[in-house]
Amino acid sequence: MATQKGKQEGNGKQASASLSDEQLLDLYTEMVNHRRFEESAARSYGMGRIYGFCHLHIGQEAIASGASLAMADGDMMVSAYRIHTMAISRGVTHQEAMDELFGRATGNVGGMGGSMHLFKPDNGFYGGWGLVGQQVPTATGLAFSNKYKENGAVVVCFMGDGAVHQGAIHESLNLASIWSLPIVYIVENNHYGMGTAVDRISSLPPIHRLGAAYDIDHGEFDGMDVLKTYDAISEAFERARSTSRPTFLEAHCSRFRGHSMSDPGKYRTRDQLAEEKSRDPIPTLAQTLVERGLLDDEKISAIDKAAKERMKKVLKAAEEAPWPDASEIHTNVFAEGGTNG
């Protein structure tokens, strides 16, 4: 990156250039698994096996995988409620994730959290929060704790284009800037907050320019391209690690499904959706890997087939998984147990 506190223009280095063939193939496989996981969740939701709200990341998988790959041990990821893929990229197994969505005792958090509240702090995944914007001060505090402990860890914090207008974001950006906190904020700009197109409720576009107001480096990237995603986030991580300065990035992306399972999505035309789908991150990466001779049609279908089979097993096991015991209701309200009324 050329100038501090200006626009992040790319630092010349492309982190993705040094990814090994194996890493690239793993990335591809992970994204395919993400897609199949989300599709399985959608079907299970339709069959009444998943409850409540369920927000899919279909179309945005590159962001989960690219960000996770940029993380080192000890780094932390925080997001809102559209998090299955992120949790899985951070090491929650497909089984643990699906069991959680099914509300089972064997789920990632024992059936207590569900789709919106996955956590795996041991692997740097810090949730999983349901109020729009709420995760941003929290993530800023995690960055504060890392700086306080001088452990070199970096936090990446996601928020939606709809979330950017919450006051909590303004307060957090100012705090991160004045205290030079090692954090990378990423706006997943999928152009909609539920049914509301971002340009109907925002005076900001381009959103990333908001960083400038707080003297924070900012930039944008194509969130439908996992390598560009990885490059941009790696650069920001590098800045956080070397200078402890925050970065505010905007990822241009699309969600191919409704906001949640109950959204008929009438606010987009068929054509618009088709156009968005033409930039699907999975074929985009496949294309690159085919060009590099790492993938061919056969391997592509083998990966896909394996993913489908994996999800079949996962769903079967999830259905058979036990419900949480009623006694769990009273644990984890407090450390010492009991509800302490």
Binding site: F53, G113, G114, M116, I201, S202, V333, T339, G341
Partner: protein, 334 residues
């Protein structure tokens, strides 16, 4: 009378009041083009136009606060919060501003607005989306707090709330929007502060509101059967002001009370009602006021756990047995 859904009754109240008074407008997330997250505002954008039905950014403090200012400026804002879990972000505008405007300005300003939206558990929505936070408002003088259990009440109370010259907090229930009931046509206005006997009975008073009252209404005959008790169902409908007279009259008749509340019971509207009864009906109570509330835990996601955490028939009937000292039938503790 026409049979309609709770959300349709709310829609009708909004439409009628917007028709009646140009100063009334509706504002909130997804209320206009999307027709409302819970479809309460279905068709209102088409009917009243974008000047009066307005989509907001996700910025609860900003747009609720803007509503407060618009009310001071002479309009009658109906501000929809998608759920009251989110309205917590806007409490400064409500508690510190709206509730105090008339008083601090010695009556020179007023704040005639309605803050409305969904409360309660919508079904496996987990800890952050299932709360009943009514007591954040009932604690505050200067606010009126309303909660409707049926489509008819929804219509009659919302119309009153919109016409009220002061800020009214209007709780709808996420799980009631699709419930049905008969609703009087046209001008049907229920005064705020007036409760309702939803079933007359002689043996025990059960006080509840919102979804918990609806559940009771739907199951009360079977519950009377199972327990052998003639249950009186009292719906205060307003949680502030509370219709003490109606409640006391019932308790003085039955001498036994169970309060069923979807909220956590600690420092809640239910605690307030209990406190008032033990004082107002001290000599009439044959058993202590007994309460059934949300267990004192955040809401777990898993549906079988949620069913245990919310008030349910098992817990309500145990309470009925307890206030009747075992005179009620059934149950291991009966």
């Amino acid at each position: 009378m026409a049979e309609m859904l709770y959300r349709e009754a709310l829609n009708q109240a909004l439409a009628e009041e917007m028709e009646r008074d140009d100063r009334v407008f509706l504002m909130g997330e997804e209320v206009a083009e999307y027709n409302g997250a819970y479809k309460v505002s279905q068709g209102l954008l088409d009917r009243f136009g974008s000047k009066r039905v307005i989509d907001t950014p996700i910025a609860e403090l900003g747009f609720v606060g803007l509503g407060v200012g618009a009310a001071m400026g002479g309009l009658i804002p109906v501000v929809e919060v998608m759920t009251f879990n989110f309205a917590i972000l806007s409490l400064d505008a409500i508690v510190n501003t709206a509730a105090k405007t008339r008083y601090m300005s010695n009556g020179t300003l007023s704040c005639p607005m309605v803050l409305r939206g969904a409360t309660g558990a919508g079904g496996a929505l987990a800890a952050q989306h299932s709360q009943s936070l009514e007591s954040q408002y009932t604690n505050i003088p200067g606010l009126k707090v309303v909660s409707a259990a049926t489509p008819a009440d929804a219509k009659g109370l919302l119309k009153s709330a919109i016409r009220d010259p002061d800020p009214v907090i209007f709780f709808e229930h996420e799980s009631l929007y699709a419930t049905k009931g008969d609703v009087p046509e046209g001008e049907y206005v229920i005064p705020l502060g007036r409760g309702d006997v939803k079933r007359a009975g002689a043996d025990v008073t059960v006080i509840a509101w919102s979804r918990q009252m609806r559940n009771l209404m739907d199951g009360v005959e079977a519950m009377c059967e199972r327990t052998g008790l003639d249950i009186e169902l009292i719906d205060p409908r307003s949680l502030r002001p509370i219709d003490e007279d109606l409640i006391f009259e019932s308790v003085r008749k039955t001498n036994r009370v169970v309060i069923v509340e979807e909220a956590w019971g600690h420092s809640s509207a239910g605690a307030e009602i209990s406190d008032r009864i033990q004082r107002g009906c001290f000599d009439y109570l044959d058993a202590p006021v007994t309460r059934v509330s949300h267990l004192e835990v955040p809401m777990p996601y898993s549906p079988p756990l949620e069913a245990l955490v919310l008030p349910n028939n098992d817990r309500i009937e145990a309470a009925l047995r307890s206030v009747t000292y075992g005179a009620a039938k059934g149950g291991a503790d009966g």
